[in-house]
Amino acid sequence: MPAPIRLRELIRTIRTARTQAEEREMIQKECAAIRSSFREEDNTYRCRNVAKLLYMHMLGYPAHFGQLECLKLIASQKFTDKRIGYLGAMLLLDERQDVHLLMTNCIKNDLNHSTQYVQGLALCTLGCMGSSEMCRDLAGEVEKLLKTSNSYLRKKAALCAVHVIRKVPELMEMFLPATKNLLSEKNHGVLHTSVVLLTEMCERSPDMLAHFRKLVPQLVRILKNLIMSGYSPEHDVSGISDPFLQVRILRLLRILGKGDDDSSEAMNDILAQVATNTETSKNVGNAILYETVLTIMDIKSESGLRVLAINILGRFLLNNDKNIRYVALTSLLKTVQTDHNAVQRHRSTIVDCLKDLDVSIKRRAMELSFALVNGNNIRGMMKELLYFLDSCDPEFKADCASGVFLAAEKYAPSKRWHIDTIMRVLTTAGSYVRDDSVPNLIQLITNSVEMHAYTVQRLYKALLDDISQQPLVQVASWCIGEYGDLLVSGQCEEEEPIQVTEDEVLDVLEGLLVSNLSTPVTRGYALTAIMKLSTRFTSVNRIKKVVSIYGSSIDVELQQRAVEYNALFKKYDHMRPALLERMPIMEKTASNGPTEIVQTNGEAEPSVVEAKHPPPVTQPTNQANDLLDLLGGNDVVPVIQTTVPTKPASAGGELLDLLGDLSLSGGPAPAPATSVPSSQPAFLLDGLTSPPLFNDIAAAGIPPMTAYNKNGLKIDFTFERANPNPNIAVITIHASNSTEADMTDFVFQAAVPKTFQLQLLSPSSNVVPALNQGTVTQVIRVLNPQKQQLRMRIKLTYTHKGSAVQDLAEVNNFPPQSWQ
């Protein structure tokens, strides 16, 4: 068998291959040659063959048949053989192959070899790929080597020990005695590796941490020497002596000083010194400064030091090197929570970073900007952020949009500004906003009563421009539905009023219905908006036509809506005006949890949509029942995470109208029945079940009372105080029926005077069983900020023995504790 070709030849040959196929062929041929050579057990060329094999492995070809050969090489006495053998072991073997255990003995022998290089090789291999079994077996040897006088070996042994500890943490104690003298080394390399070893031990075990705390003064001294002592050519990098060691020591100091006052105090001086003396012209210096800053932030440093750290970060931000800017932004993000004011000073630089070319810098800058927004700088910041939103990549738009919304809600200086901002976001990044921003915006609009005309006008104009952005279209159609009368009447104080006719408005809305760009949800909005306009506009016929066309639409949602609206026109025309009245102002409660509820004034808003939502099986087939469900029923609109407090006084106006209607037979009293947009199905369903909130509120010991007792129907009120807000009284009504027939379709409604606000939650059922077999319960929340005497007017409707019964009553006998 001729001598196998040399490594160089092989490499050269392979490189001449022009195609992948050619290369593969060559390699296969060579592999075959190597395999036969291995079979021959030829010692002289084994090394060469394995080297070739390794090269082929690096190119990506399978080479596992060489594993055993590597072991044989390791066992050989020649240094070159060993070297290639260990290299092969590191590349080809790992702890998942059982073969690697065979290495253990070899490594053990080599660790005790006379030549330090062989020992070094063994340590290296063990440190790179030693499995836990191997580590356990060989830890003793490693520990012995830690104590040798040979610094070359000590370095390797220290890092090998690090690996052992990582694999088998229980062996940490074994290395403890050896560490005693480690820090008194002069040799930088050994010092460096010892610091790494100590760091690893401290991170793994809090006992070790406490033990090593006493080393802090020593570390400080070493660091000081490093900085002060002049020029040490060996470890010098660009004029700074051994930056790697400095960085490592700083890191160890960070771990030791975290949470501990004494150590932190001991470190303060040296940290300040490093921070001021290090040269920042090159990356090296900046690396050290960065580590220093991280350390200062983590330990309990004094405030002057922290300000110094943040100033360093600020200086980083102005650096030309984008790496450094990136690093600064990341750290500032971490510290902005704790040292908010200091970071504010660098706000303008951060905002400039929004315009950077690098994607990761932009993202960091955006997050940081949002964290820095507060009441004072909101206008300026928002301008920058909106500009950023215009020009940024799509991947940022969603986050930026939601950030803008949150910030705007918290710090909006005026309603008009708020609405303008939101509109701007919707027009620029409309398709990227989150789904829950639509209901939020709608709520915001209803709350700002004086802005209705302005808002609807602007939205209408936006719709004329562009109907592709769904959230914008949804909000716009909702508003037009609500405030269409304001639109056509042309009153607007804030802006030039535009002249719009009813037909034009209806054109736009119908356009939405037929457009390909509209999603089904949007179509639903549009249809409902058209319906609402039937009470606000004069030309009802056109609306009737549209609604009846969609009665046969393929989309089930639209069809159902259209059919029900049709029914409204035909059979229940007398209810239509009341049903489609203006929505009351929705209040927001302070919220921080999943059980948030929005309070409404007056009755719960029944929703057309809600009645249709799954599970459809509960749908009553009777149209009349549908409407009664609408009126009697249910509740509210969901989860909005803001902290805007409730605004009781402004709600008064709405309630006035509603209370006035109480005695009309035209419609159920304060029951504005407009459809809540269908984009909130999940939340609405949540609202369907009574929240358990009130169960755990401590009963304030207020005695229950009977509110109504006539014709066998008895209604009792029991009281509780809502915990977060002492002004809210929670009343649970219990309706029981002492006659022999059930009362079905039972609906309870209530209204309160102007100074109160009422929220009615869903009843437990619509049927009051006969003979007191059960009760229907429903929860009422009453907000009583002025602590006036609570009075209530209630209206009951039910069907008893086949006939519908309606009754009105006043409840005045509330116990004083309930409203005080």
């Binding site: 790179c128 690893e200 690093v327 990761s360």
Partner: protein, 143 residues
């Protein structure tokens, strides 16, 4: 806090050195190599030298046609490892006398030795260039 792997790749994606300090399957390794190549070669001079990759971070630097990549934890000091890469490259330069890619190809086992002299168990071991070079020359004399 440790290095997961060190990778030297050329622009075409060929691996010139792959040192793993963590256990991976062969096909995982191959996938990682491909992913790193994809992430790193699309970035140009106006990007930073740090990339977030899976739940690690890659710190890389381009020297002529070769990308030197070190994969570390997210919490590590980027700038320090960047210096580490440069230190390593300077040693290679000294050892091979104006190193070029072909040197790394033909002497790959020597490159591994350099790596092992400077990094061990996922940490930087020796930072003094003179010392490393002295060791390497001694090792070479044993061959």
């Amino acid at each position: 806090m440790k290095i997961r792997f060190i990778l030297i790749q050329n622009r075409a994606g060929k691996t010139r050195l792959a040192k793993w300090y963590m256990q991976f399957d062969d096909d995982e390794k191959q996938k990682l190599i491909e992913e790193v190549h994809a992430v790193v070669t699309v970035r140009d001079a106006k990007h930073t030298n740090f990339v977030e990759f899976r739940n690690f971070k890659i710190i890389y630097r381009r020297y002529a046609g070769l990308y030197f990549c070190i994969c570390v934890d997210v919490t590590d000091n980027n700038l320090a490892y960047l210096e580490g890469i440069h230190n390593f490259v300077e040693v290679l330069n000294e050892y091979f006398h104006n190193v070029c890619e072909l040197d790394l190809v033909f002497n790959f086992y020597k490159v591994y030795t350099v790596v092992d002299e400077m990094f061990l168990a996922g940490e930087i071991r020796e930072t003094s260039q003179t010392k490393v070079l002295k060791q390497l020359l001694m090792l070479q004399s044993l061959e």
